[in-house]
Subunit: 267 residues, 2 copies
């Protein structure tokens, strides 16, 4: 998907919500477990219930992978069911030497038809560039993540007097463009968005950590929003596991609509 | 697999060779393409031909993933075919927030039965610890990788006057033990092994980059070997793609045997 199309979806739906799909068998509504493909059935109903309130979906590959080969069939059906109306981020945190990253990019972009893949920056430019070579496909690079462990390395001070995550942001931004690169910045660091926008004023940011992880929407928007919105705010568990009964999809829609209307106020 | 068992395989086979399995359809011997599962058939013949000369196999997940869901069936069959006699490293470069890393660990350790998973350190302790909680299962943490991009971030100088990769090594070594943690150090940095051994004298190192990537076995062994060997040297393309004819497996065996006899001289 082109950036302009993503921006136009944001304005039409008055939302910059990304719904994270983390389908864990032990958390699915029990009545779905008798269906032929419970993971897909769960995703399908969540997608149908929330698609008017969001612009992106982020399937988390760990949850599909843990199901074995059939999990990848559920993933494929999920991506196909989402269709072209939403930006699809394969949350896979990939990154390897060049010829291997190329295989990962090929899998997610061409075989499965996702728009974007989350990638880890530790291995440097030749590990990321294969994700930047396909028109309308995006690398979503980890910069400052939402978890506690982001303190261990991402916030280490370099000899240049800048934390590692800022250098990662500054450096990887030069390898792509705002048309093919986004960055992950956790909502659990609302103080950081001001600095992020000094370094990458134009890029889209994928922001996890709102909801279950305790991040704050208003704090994120205050400095994170830019002229073309520039934010995709993700919520996973807060939406998809809002309810565990036969009404789970309606409750998911309710949570998504709540976030959408909070977001509309910032647009 | 326990460390003691790995060490005993090394002494019995007089080898610390890891054979990397990167099965790319376009590179397979053409006569295999008519079989029902060419990727498995290729791996099966490579494994049968090389198992006496190596102690570990490292399937590279990108190459299986790129085949779609059926690639995961080929991966599963490959792991089962290797069996318990060899240390099996899922080269997947995973790493995510805790609940997600736990799903990845579960997939590779419990569902597929691998001994180890390669993991990227950028997200810190809570992203790695789920890979350190299962007895006899190992996290293989990226420290200083073999590719050119290792210069971009891994070699950045911190304010403590130490490059990032050394801090990653020092820090992550405290999260596990030499019984459940290994580190990736590329053979393309032979100068670095002396420093590595000052920081982690006892840990096993997984060393890619010998062969196609230009790394040097003798240089690696000079400082890399420790009392219990402490090295798994990986070769992928140099062995598995040594030949493209009906004799590919014999040629692979020949290349593996060459490396094994070079290694025996260092033991």
């Amino acid at each position: 998907m082109k950036r302009a199309e993503l921006v136009s979806h944001i304005h039409e739906r008055r939302s910059f919500l990304c719904v994270g799909l983390d389908p864990e068998l032990s958390k699915l509504p029990p009545h779905l477990l008798d269906t032929a493909d419970p993971v897909f059935e769960f995703n399908r109903q969540i997608i149908d219930a929330t698609r008017d309130y969001c612009v992106a979906y982020k399937p988390n590959l760990a949850f599909f992978e843990a199901m074995g080969p059939s999990g990848w069939v559920s993933f494929e059906r999920t991506v196909n069911h989402i269709g072209k109306s939403h930006f699809i981020i394969a949350d896979a945190k990939r990154g390897d030497i060049g010829n291997t990253s190329r295989m990962y990019a090929d899998a997610f972009y061409n075989r499965y038809g996702c728009d974007a893949v989350t990638v880890a920056p530790y291995m440097g430019e030749d590990s990321l560039s294969p994700f930047l070579e396909t028109p309308e496909k995006w690398a979503v690079v980890l910069a400052l993540t939402s978890n506690k462990g982001s303190d261990n390395f991402q916030r280490l001070q370099l000899s240049t007097n800048e934390p590692l995550w800022e250098t990662v942001l500054r450096q990887t931004a030069t390898w792509g463009t705002p048309e093919n690169t986004m960055f992950v910045v956790g909502a659990t660091h609302p103080d950081a968005f001001r600095r992020v926008r000094e370094i990458v004023p134009d890029h889209f940011l994928l922001v996890p950590g709102v909801g279950a992880q305790g991040g704050d929407l208003a704090g994120t928007c205050r400095y994170g929003l830019n002229r073309e919105t520039g934010l995709l705010i993700n919520s996973s568990r807060g939406i998809i596991y809002a309810d565990n009964s036969v009404h789970f999809a309606e409750k998911a829609a309710e949570e998504a609509r709540k976030l959408q209307s909070e977001m509309a106020a910032f647009l």
